[in-house]
């Protein structure tokens, strides 16, 4: 009996549809080099104490991607999991701290039930269940074992312990007996699997590192998971689990070979889209709306397309064309959809199409895309402050202080009608020394984007007054947005911010002061490699800091101290919205 069968008329693209699909993943095409040459090491990759072993919540997208790999894309997972709190600039780091509420558990259960029901329904069972029971109305131990062991290994991201597998088979059998239906029984066991804390949480395990006595490294399967969630935003595939089992991932040669495969895979695109969606805080787009009277062109479709435009630009630039990360801030190449064409005032063509802004266009780089301009503005007007703050926090990894509480706002209250422009308005902030401290940090570069209104439309005037788009960024002065783009391109913190975020995203831990030498090493290699993303990913994964881990803090002795009305948990430091104007 073949392990997995295909059915005429179905596209078997998932991998429990397993080994079938794996044939293509492991074939010569997938094995070809990712075209990434390790760069000359510009600083030493000294052994470190590594990052903390994490217990990370799987995101809805990761869950969806994993099940799409295991069962194919036709299994639809409609649920959205509860959002986690952005921590040190990333939701990905927040997953290492987020708890699970009762309502989230309900969502997990509904999601698991929906997925399992689809896998075993009459349409799908014949090619997703790799065996046929002797009697469809009764339990079948052997067939249940084949299915559950194969699926269990993929969703648990390591082979199921025999004891647990036996329990699942017993549950499938018992359920089949009660329901008088083998497939319903199998579905019930699968539903349980998909609700397991070992499936919905990624628990990293450590082991002594024989190459660095006294240090601990991730065990093979944990390293496979860290790699896969980092690069593909999904659980490990069959080959990665095999590499984990064989010990290959713990050799430089084996890890490098696996990395080549992963960087060459089309699944890298999903992984990097997820990363940049996180880094650019595009979760804000889930709630972005503009005033329909002021910006009638800014429709709900435009909101989603603005996010998509930037992600397409980034993927095309960094992965397809393998270009310098810094050039993203000066590139004129992008993609346009009909809803965006209206805002950019371009001819409309159906669907998405590549587009090159002319050399004399004010549109240049990511800052002039609607995602940045509209995403960091008010519903009814632009905001130099919000844009400047986003530039500093998102692209330079800086922290803009929260505004003070007891501010005298009289200077910025709706002033005389002679005040027309945002430049004049924000200049009033500078009259108050308490305001000026922060607004000097955010406004000068935000003002360079004033030729774009709150929806991202180009303009030369505001309320009849000509807009002055001059500004400065950390000592560099410019007359308009093209100058800002060039200044940002050359800002040393642009690449180092990406490095910091990539490292934190990959390991689930914010880079701490202890990681300075690691970050130095990564930064130098990123520069030496021409600021190419694939090179950066390779350097991060091959660094000792990526696979070296420190043990979690042991549980302290129980304390009797309880504060009423509090969980007693340590406060969690997270990013919260500030009060920028």
């Amino acid at each position: 009996m073949p392990l997995f069968r295909s059915a005429a008329g179905y596209s078997v693209t998932g991998v429990i549809a397993a080994t079938l699909a794996l044939a293509s993943c492991s074939g010569p095409a997938a094995q070809k080099s990712a075209g990434v040459k390790p760069t000359a090491i510009a600083a030493s990759d000294a052994p470190t104490d590594g990052t903390a072993r994490r217990l990370r919540l799987v995101t809805a997208e990761q869950y969806r991607n994993t099940l799409a790999y295991v069962f194919g894309p036709n299994i639809t997972i409609p649920s959205a999991f509860a959002p986690v709190t952005r921590t040190d600039g990333l939701l990905g780091v927040g997953t290492s701290l987020a708890g699970v509420t009762a309502s989230q558990m309900e969502i997990y259960q509904k999601t698991a039930a929906t997925a399992a029901a689809q896998v075993v329904n009459e349409s799908n069972r014949h090619f997703l269940v790799p065996c046929t029971p002797k009697d469809t109305a009764a339990p079948d131990d052997a067939c249940a074992r084949i299915f559950l062991s194969a699926v269990g290994r993929l969703v648990y991201r390591r082979p199921l312990a025999e004891e647990r597998l036996v329990e699942y088979i017993a549950e499938a059998n018992e359920s089949a007996t009660k329901l008088k239906d083998f497939y319903a029984g199998l579905g019930a066991a699968l539903e349980g699997m998909l609700l397991s804390p070992r499936v919905l949480m990624v628990s990293e395990r450590g082991e002594p590192d024989p190459d660095h006595p006294g240090h601990e490294r991730l065990d093979g399967y944990s390293l496979a998971s860290r790699l896969s969630f980092f690069l593909w935003n999904a659980g490990p595939d069959d080959l990665l689990l095999k590499a984990a089992a064989s010990g290959e991932l713990h050799t430089q040669k084996g890890l490098s070979k696996t990395l080549d495969r992963m960087l060459a895979s089309p699944r890298l695109e999903a992984g990097m889209r997820a990363f940049f969606d996180d880094m650019f805080m595009f979760d804000d787009f889930n709630n972005l709306a503009k005033d329909g009277q002021i910006y009638p062109v800014f429709t709900g479709v435009a909101v989603q397309d603005a996010r998509e435009q930037t992600l397409r630009t980034v993927i095309d630039h960094l992965l397809t064309k393998d270009r310098d990360y810094r050039d993203l801030f000066t590139t004129r190449s992008t993609f346009i959809s009909p809803s965006l064409a209206t805002i950019y005032r371009l001819p409309t063509t159906p669907g998405w199409s590549p587009y090159e802004f002319p050399a004399d266009s004010p549109r240049m780089g990511l800052l002039t895309q609607i995602s940045f301009l509209a995403g960091h503005a008010h519903p009814g007007r632009s905001s130099p402050t919000l844009r400047g703050k986003a530039l500093r926090e998102v692209l330079l990894c800086q922290t803009v202080p929260r505004p003070p509480a007891n501010v005298d706002f009289s200077a910025v209250e709706n002033p005389a009608s002679t005040i027309k422009t945002q430049r004049e308005r924000v200049a009033l902030h500078l009259k108050n020394p308490v305001c000026a401290g922060c607004h000097k940090i955010t406004d000068p570069m935000g003002l360079a984007l004033e030729n774009f209104d709150g929806a991202g439309q180009f303009r030369t005037e505001e309320k009849g007054s000509k807009i002055d788009a001059s500004g400065s960024l950390d000592g560099k002065e410019f007359q308009d947005v093209t100058g800002l783009a060039a200044a940002l391109h050359d800002h040393p913190q642009v690449p180092s911010c990406l490095v910091k975020r990539v490292f934190a995203y990959g390991t689930g831990s914010p880079a701490s002061a202890d990681e300075k030498s690691t970050l130095d090493y990564l930064n130098k290699n990123f520069a030496a490699g021409g600021y190419r993303l694939r090179n950066l990913l390779r350097t991060v994964v091959m660094s000792s800091a990526f696979s070296t881990v420190s043990s979690p803090t042991p549980e302290p002795a129980k304390s009797a101290s309880v504060v009423h009305g509090s969980s007693g948990a340590s406060p969690v430091k997270t990013d919260i919205k500030t009060d920028a104007q």
């Binding site: 989230q104 319903a184 609700l195 549980e555 406060p571 919205k577």
Partner: protein
């Protein structure tokens, strides 16, 4: 004859199997005098919260008179129908002591936890609603329900713990499905058919719960609490499955609403928010009436509210800071426009619960709702002269129709009073200057 309940009868009849039973509403299962859900159980007292952002303008909000004879003011005109069912508290202070004033954050955190956050990003621990739901919410299908009219799933003032915010329902369609979709057990249905799949689910769940112990050994102390939360969640599912296998007692006030098939578009424009708020409120009212939950939260707007006014370029929050005080009116006109929309929503919320008959009175009579905000005068981020409201009589334990001038005392007194009313055995609540053991005795019956 009264020695057995409907649940006992059904459990015996089911004996682990799937059967359908016709269930006439036998007199022996019903409370005779209409003041109990069924069979001698008193009406449960429910607790709810309601949050609006950016406070109010004291000069046109605070009534001059205190006590029962208070007058509706310019900003509270919409309360005509609810005045007798609510209490208004003014002059409250959220003390931050030596902690910073974290704009739009410290205020509501103090109201919900009795403690001020020490730095930006310090998340509150367990909030008031969670504390109360741990006391009264363990027997219902949902321990708590949280919804928001903002459309933003991150908009919440409720936390199970520091790392577990209660994410609200944002879509009326999804909220309806969660409450009254296929998993809803209509307590007044003439027949009851336990789903055999649910029995199977419950059985499989015990194996999943068993995995927690193994995982516990792999993680450190920091993550232990998170795993405990996971386990609590699984236990919650287990209880839900149990309830689905048990015919609920009839509830006269419970009438499942018609399916919600459309909902407002995305956005924070005030009319859209009002529509979303009404839809969410109507669903919440029936969820409470059907005893699906006994603790619930509703956010009209978020702290630092971004509600917008059609054609007006500034959202509410920006308006509080940038609109000048009108010389003639003596207040910020548009800012007050936003506040009035918020307070109209409060009126709708309270009235919706008061319109539903339950026992001898209304659903609201058996509830206590706490309404609070993030600032007093938002223009200057003040944490004094704050306002709050309660609604409902908590089964007769609370008097209503009063305006209480708090004279600068901590807002924690409301949280403390509420917990006492809800039956929590505590002698004080809050930390440092917000610590109090002084109830608002004026409202206690």
């Amino acid at each position: 004859m009264m020695d057995f309940t409907r649940r006992r009868v059904l459990r015996g009849a089911l004996d682990g199997g799937a059967v359908t039973l016709a269930l006439p509403l036998l007199n022996c299962f019903l409370n005779g005098n209409g003041n109990a859900l069924a069979a001698g159980k008193p009406m449960p007292i429910r607790f709810g919260t309601w949050f609006w952002g950016l406070g109010m303008t004291a000069s046109i909000f605070v009534p001059k008179k205190a006590g029962a004879d208070w007058e509706l003011t310019e900003e509270t005109q919409s309360w005509k129908n609810i005045k007798q069912n609510m209490n208004l508290f003014t002059g409250l202070t959220a003390f931050r002591d030596t902690d910073p004033n974290l704009c739009h954050y410290s205020g509501w955190v103090i109201n919900m936890t009795g403690q001020s956050p020490k730095a930006g990003g310090d998340k509150p621990g367990e909030t008031l609603d969670t504390t109360i739901s741990n006391q009264v919410g363990r027997t219902t299908r949902f321990k708590t329900l949280t919804a928001t009219a903002t459309g933003d799933v991150r908009s919440t003032v409720s936390y199970e713990s520091a790392n577990a915010p209660t994410n609200p329902e944002v879509s009326p369609i999804n909220f309806y499905t969660r409450l009254f979709g296929p998993d809803f057990q209509d307590p007044n249905a003439p027949t009851f058919t336990p789903n055999p799949k649910t029995m199977v689910r419950k059985s499989v769940l015990s194996g999943v719960i068993g995995e927690i112990k193994g995982l516990e050994r792999e993680i450190g102390a920091e993550d232990k609490q998170r795993l405990d939360q996971y386990l609590t969640g699984l236990r919650h599912l287990e209880r839900q499955f149990d309830q689905q296998l048990t015919k609920p007692d009839p509830i006269a006030a419970c009438i499942a609403p018609k399916a919600v098939t459309s909902e407002p578009e995305l956005g924070g424009e005030a009319k859209i928010v009002a529509t979303r708020h009404k839809m969410m409120t109507d669903l919440m009212v029936m969820a409470v009436a059907c005893d699906q939950t006994r603790v619930f939260n509703m956010n009209y707007s978020s702290a630092s509210a971004n509600t917008t006014k059609e054609g007006y370029e500034k959202p509410h929050h920006t308006t509080t800071h940038e609109e000048r005080v009108d010389d003639k009116l003596g207040y910020q006109e548009n800012c007050s426009w936003f506040t009035r929309r918020s307070l109209e929503a409060w009126a709708y919320y309270v009235e919706a619960f008061s319109k539903l008959k339950e026992g001898d009175g209304t659903l609201l009579d058996n509830m206590l709702i706490y309404a609070f905000t993030d600032h007093g005068y938002a223009r200057i981020h003040s944490l004094d002269n704050m306002a709050a409201m309660t609604a409902g009589r908590a089964g007769g334990k609370v008097k209503t129709g009063l305006h209480i001038k708090a004279e600068g005392s901590t807002s924690g007194r409301i949280g403390y009073t509420i917990q006492r009313v809800m039956g929590l055995d505590i002698n004080s609540w809050g930390a440092r200057s917000n610590n109090t053991s002084k109830e608002f005795g004026e409202i206690l019956a």
